[in-house]
């Protein structure tokens, strides 16, 4: 009787094998990313425009962060917006094109002088991102009841494509210079749209759906969330437009401030959601998430401060910012959410048909929570040590920090394997 119910999860979720591919690739990328940090700690110093740093940044932003966002979006968009994914085949094709693009781009940055062109991986990545955008937008147009998460996700897709096109132009420029403004100025635009428009916007949008569900939050309004998305979008559009012209410091500060205010409004909004929680005891997923959101406030302040001085003149400051954003905010948040989502996905795939017939595990029993706690504290320690080491240029301390982060990534991978095998 109930098995025939047209429920949200069963009717709209894509097949496990599709989403699982993205999640497995994410876990592999995360370990590789941390290994690359350890192996190249001597190269991680000075200006950010260096082959090894660009290679590591792209395995982080594409192989790890974007990969998991793709996988999570295929799972979440149908559930959150109550629509069926437009095409499962496109999601499958996209995975292989995107993975090939990531591997080739990371390889090419690593071996800057190799014969491979920058444009080929960039084209592959653009195709994959275009397929993703078409798939999600074609799913979204069928939505009957729109919500704030949908607005954030739609905005983030626009910024993903902007980032991708900017990346393509930069890659062509590396092969054959043609961009009129400086390459580094254009790179800044690429980074701003990627970090704020794509990654942060997705996180913000999804957080309004997932966090209240995990912490059982009730009786709050999302008015600030609406203003946040408007201000951040206007700010990003302004910064993208202004950056093409010389002597636009005032406008740059104005639009940058809009982004900052938008991020502050988001942080106030999510604090309100947390304050209204019923589930007071935080589990490991929530601990990661909470720390990540605190770190987001640090990155917001850093973003804002960058409007007022030439941060590239401060040794290692952009690297410190990159580590705080990628390892502190994005990785901590993603790992926290993966400790919630991956057990659910595997549980739903393996056990949902067995409920009521045989004993099924609780989600938190599917991984080793003590190990996850160790990972949590190691990541915080590794992050703090790495930031101190970069700030004061102490190489041996940087190796220590990266090694701790690498061990923590192994613990994470072991825990994820345990979930998939449970």
């Amino acid at each position: 009787m109930m098995d025939g119910l047209n429920s949200v999860a069963s009717a709209y979720s894509p097949p496990f094998r599709i989403v699982a591919k993205y999640f497995v690739a994410t876990i592999i990328s995360f370990v590789v990313l941390n290994l690359m940090l350890v192996l190249n700690y001597l190269d991680i110093s000075g200006h950010h425009f260096q082959p090894k740093i660009l290679s590591i940044t792209h395995i982080a932003t594409l192989g790890f962060i974007t990969m998991i966002i793709f996988g999570a979006m295929f799972q979440l968009v149908p559930v959150v917006l109550e629509v069926k994914l437009f095409s499962i085949i496109l999601a499958e094709i996209q995975f292989w094109i995107f993975s090939a693009g990531v591997v080739l781009l990371v390889y090419k940055f690593w071996n800057f002088g190799s014969g491979l062109s920058f444009t080929l991986p960039a084209i592959l990545l653009n195709i994959a991102m275009l397929i993703f955008s078409i798939n999600i937008i074609a799913s979204m147009v069928k939505v009957k009841s729109w919500n704030i998460t949908g607005t954030y996700l739609a905005s983030s897709i626009f910024w993903l494509l902007t980032t991708a096109v900017a990346g393509l132009l930069l890659s062509i420029n590396l092969d054959t210079p043609f961009i009129k403004i400086s390459h580094l100025q254009y790179l800044k635009l690429h980074v701003i749209t990627a970090f704020i428009g794509w990654v942060t916007m997705v996180v913000m949008g999804v957080s309004f759906k997932l966090i209240p569900m995990f912490i059982l939050s009730h009786d709050y309004k999302l008015n600030l969330a609406k203003w946040a998305v408007i201000l951040i979008n206007i700010g990003l559009l302004g910064v993208n437009w202004i950056m093409h012209y010389p002597d636009t410091e005032f406008y740059n500060t104005f639009f940058g401030s809009l982004i900052f205010i938008g991020m502050l409004l988001y942080l106030v909004q999510i604090t309100i959601v947390f304050k209204k929680r019923i589930r007071k005891k935080p589990d490991i997923g929530l601990k990661f998430t909470s720390v990540a959101l605190i770190i987001l406030s640090i990155t917001a302040v850093l973003n804002f401060s960058f409007l007022f001085f030439n941060y590239e003149n401060v040794i290692n400051l952009t690297l410190v910012y990159g580590i705080i954003f990628l390892i502190g905010f994005a990785s901590m948040l993603i790992i926290g959410q993966m400790y919630k989502i991956v057990p659910f996905l595997v549980w739903y795939h393996k056990y949902s048909s067995k409920v009521g017939i045989e004993k099924v595990p609780m989600l938190k029993d599917m991984f080793n929570e003590t190990l996850a706690e160790y990972q949590f504290y190691m990541m915080i320690a590794g992050l703090i040590i790495s930031v101190i080491a970069l700030s004061f240029q102490i190489q041996i301390l940087l190796l220590t920090g990266f090694s701790i982060l690498f061990i923590s990534s192994i613990i994470f991978a072991l825990n994820m394997i345990k979930i998939f095998r449970s």
Partner: protein, 101 residues
């Protein structure tokens, strides 16, 4: 059969249905709104903590199956409703304690 099925019995059976994410049974969470028994037909009206919860059909299927498995020849219908919306005050004291309230 009718004489042996009581609301209390069904409630006790439903206590074995545990939200896999929260780790608390659906009765103590206050998710079961109504149990109606007419002869060998059991109608359960329940909700979930969040609309659009991805555990949706797993929990309702679990509730239906566990009653059917425990009481032979019973017909079970589990109806999921979103009104009235679930609120924390529907939880038992035990559940509140477990959540750290």
């Amino acid at each position: 059969m009718t004489g042996t099925i009581t609301k209390e019995k069904i409630t006790d059976i439903l206590r074995t249905v545990i939200d896999p994410e929260i780790g608390i049974n659906i009765v103590d969470l206050g998710l079961v709104y109504d149990i109606n028994i007419i002869e060998n037909q059991v109608d359960v009206t329940m909700t979930l903590t969040t609309p659009g919860c991805p555990m949706h059909n797993s929990i309702t299927t679990w509730a239906q199956r566990v009653i059917e498995m425990t009481i032979p020849d019973v017909k079970v219908n589990v109806k999921l409703v979103w009104e009235p919306r679930w609120t924390p005050d529907k939880m038992s004291e035990d559940a509140k304690l477990q959540l750290g309230m």
